[in-house]
Amino acid sequence: MPISRRELLQALGAVAVFVLTGEVGWSTMRDVNSQPAIAAPPAPGGDVPKEQHQWAAVVDLRRCDGCTYCTDACQTTHFLPKEMEWIKIYEVQDTNGNRFFMPRLCMQCENPPCLKVCPVAATFKSSEGVILVNQDRCIGCRLCMAACPYEARYFNFRQPPRPPKSFDNPMPEFPVPQRKGTVGKCVLCVHYVDQGKLPACVEACPMGALYIADLNTRVMTNSSGETYEMSRYLSENDGFRLKEELNTSPRVWYVAGHGQTIEGQHWS
């Protein structure tokens, strides 16, 4: 029996639906790859709108004294329980036997492993390059936690602490309160930064060890108001990123100075 036109159109419709859903499925992954590579210097006056920033961070390990004020400020701001250290301070012994402290926030990777493995696209990258979680979408499978090489993701095993009523409007940029059964992480306080304020951790650091940076304007600044041109500062101080070999291309740079191995590989 020859296929009628109606049947043919229906069949084509089915194919189109498949192609479209496939399109949706791949789109977030393609976005990741089409983000400008961090290694390439931003074109001066390029096609990125002036008001659009590309947020990053710099951590000066020479200054961090391990006071954990940053962690406390983060937990207060986001109403987090104690075990959720979106910025976590590790105490590390370097190859010379000296101790130093290493704050770890979300690396805001250009090529984020957590985003790739998410089955429902709950994790996404904002237009400013910050990795966010849509906690209304997250199904709580925790594959992103297994995939993150920096252990920067946290799961709400229980009902998170309740903030005052006025806060009760969580959004990916300011996920307060956290949602039970979903994954949360450092959002670089993009909600504050967009208003011209510093992230809670940067603001709270008494040593000025934490800098917020913008890859477009190439400016970095800390709580003491010290401001540098990012690329020059990083090259003069041998800035490095964690686990370069994984090709995640983090947006957080470290500056060492205690004889640590530059690659940040050989912590004891």
Binding site: V117, Y154, F155
Partner: protein
């Protein structure tokens, strides 16, 4: 047809016992639904534990049932006839149970539908959803097709004695089977196709289960051999489970006339070969990693072979590989009892091995800190035990409705004195 019509007291005692375990698991799950995954022993580092191990284990076990039946069917091994129904039923029931575990492990199970609405084909979770549902469908068809003539036999033999519900059920499910040559031809063709399809399907299921771990950059899982490793582990644990299930149902349903010692021996040889293969995979992995002792894989190896988890690892090596292989290899223990003990050891050890793949892979720090300990809570233990009890329970209820031994296949293969044999088969199955 006694178990189908009038089960004995023993049947109900066992059903009650297994149902209690399942019920306790349900209660535990309700508590978890209410409180969140905080009722488990999981923590920020080890965020997968018992549930993910259970998922890999139960879905893995299923493959053994499907494989035993499919491969033996395709190679025309005549001795498989009395085993295939048991193996196929076990395969379907255990994948049903295994497929529930991703849901149990989910922080927001009510959002399961998002996997279809917003599904990302780049995520291994979605590969798992696709592979497991496809495999489950194929497994159900693989169980159902050879069941059709037996359902027809139930319909014809039991008649109105079966009661109205069953009479209706048998009538519908038999699809008008009357054993005509044309029907037999179609059935044989269909069964062969499904048997062929189910083998690569099962391989795909265990490969994508492995990719769930393999796509992360965790040193313990960062291995190219992971997918074949998982497939072999599934077959090994699955054949052991087939032996265990066969031994239990043979004893409880008095099937000694149909399932003989030789059946156990054949299955045990397959199990032994797979066990040796698994040991070889482990050796190949550990030798190359242990020789180099690179930071990540090296510290995992240390943790497993001489460190805190070494007692468990050696318990697996000795109790799950060496002892079972010896029990089968030595002629003095190569009997139903010895083989059953070996199979039990393999099943328990393979669960342990899954745990030793999942948990240390996460417990090992990726940042400069120390190993974090995970200990399961009573909720996780209750749910795991309930799941293990659910498989025999589902099988027993299934065999209340359908013959435990494939009457049709026994007939086909024996093909001698059909009527007499059929009577006998029904007598034993019933």
């Amino acid at each position: 047809m006694r178990p189908i019509m009038r089960p004995g007291q023993f049947f109900w005692v066992v059903v009650a016992g297994l149902s209690t375990l399942v019920l306790l698991a349900l209660i535990a799950y309700l508590e978890q639904l209410k409180e969140g995954l905080g009722v488990t022993g999981l923590n920020q580092r080890v965020s997968w534990g018992f549930y993910i191990s259970d998922m890999v284990f139960f879905i893995g076990v299923s493959y053994g049932g499907a494989m035993t039946s499919a491969i033996l069917r395709l190679t025309n091994a005549p001795w498989r006839a009395p085993l295939s129904r048991l193996a196929e039923t076990m395969a379907v029931m255990s994948v049903l149970v295994g497929a529930v575990f991703p849901l149990i492990d989910m922080g927001r199970p009510e959002r399961m539908i998002y996997l279809f609405r917003y599904g990302q084909v780049g995520s291994p979770v979605l590969w798992d959803v696709i592979a497991v549902t496809t495999y489950l469908t194929a497994g159900a068809v693989f169980l159902y097709l050879p069941l059709i003539p037996d359902i027809a036999a139930c319909r014809d033999r039991l008649g109105p004695a079966a009661g109205r519900v069953r009479e209706f059920l048998y009538d519908r499910l038999a699809l008008g089977w009357h054993g005509t040559p044309a029907q037999k031809h179609v059935l044989e063709w269909g069964t062969t196709v499904v048997a062929i399809v189910i083998i690569p399907l099962a391989v795909s299921v265990h490969s994508v289960l492995a990719f769930l771990f393999g796509v992360t950059s965790r040193p313990a899982w960062d291995s190219t051999i992971l997918a074949p490793y998982f497939v072999l582990a599934a077959m090994f644990s699955g054949v052991a489970t087939v032996i265990l299930v066969t031994a239990a149902f043979r004893w409880a349903y008095h099937l000694e006339a149909y399932i003989e010692e030789k059946h156990f021996k054949y299955l045990a040889y397959i199990m032994m070969t797979l066990g040796a293969g698994y040991g070889y995979f482990m050796f190949a992995e550990y030798l190359t990693e242990g020789y180099k002792m690179h930071q990540g894989p090296g510290s995992i190896l240390e943790l497993l072979l001489v460190g805190r988890l070494a007692p468990f690892m050696w318990l697996f090596g000795v109790g799950g590989l060496i002892v079972p292989i010896l029990l089968v290899a030595l002629p003095w223990t190569r009997n139903v009892a010895g083989i059953s003990v070996a199979a039990l050891a393999v099943v328990l050890a393979m669960w342990l091995k899954r745990f030793l793949i999942v948990v240390p892979g996460l417990a090992q720090p990726l940042m400069p800190s120390s190993v974090v300990i995970y200990w399961p809570s009573r909720v996780e233990i209750a749910i795991t035990l309930g799941a293990a009890a659910a498989i025999p329970l589902l099988m027993m209820l299934f065999f209340r409705l359908f013959p435990i031994i494939s009457i049709f296949e026994i007939e086909e293969i024996a093909a001698t004195d059909t009527t007499h044999h059929e009577e006998a088969a029904i007598g034993a199955a019933g």
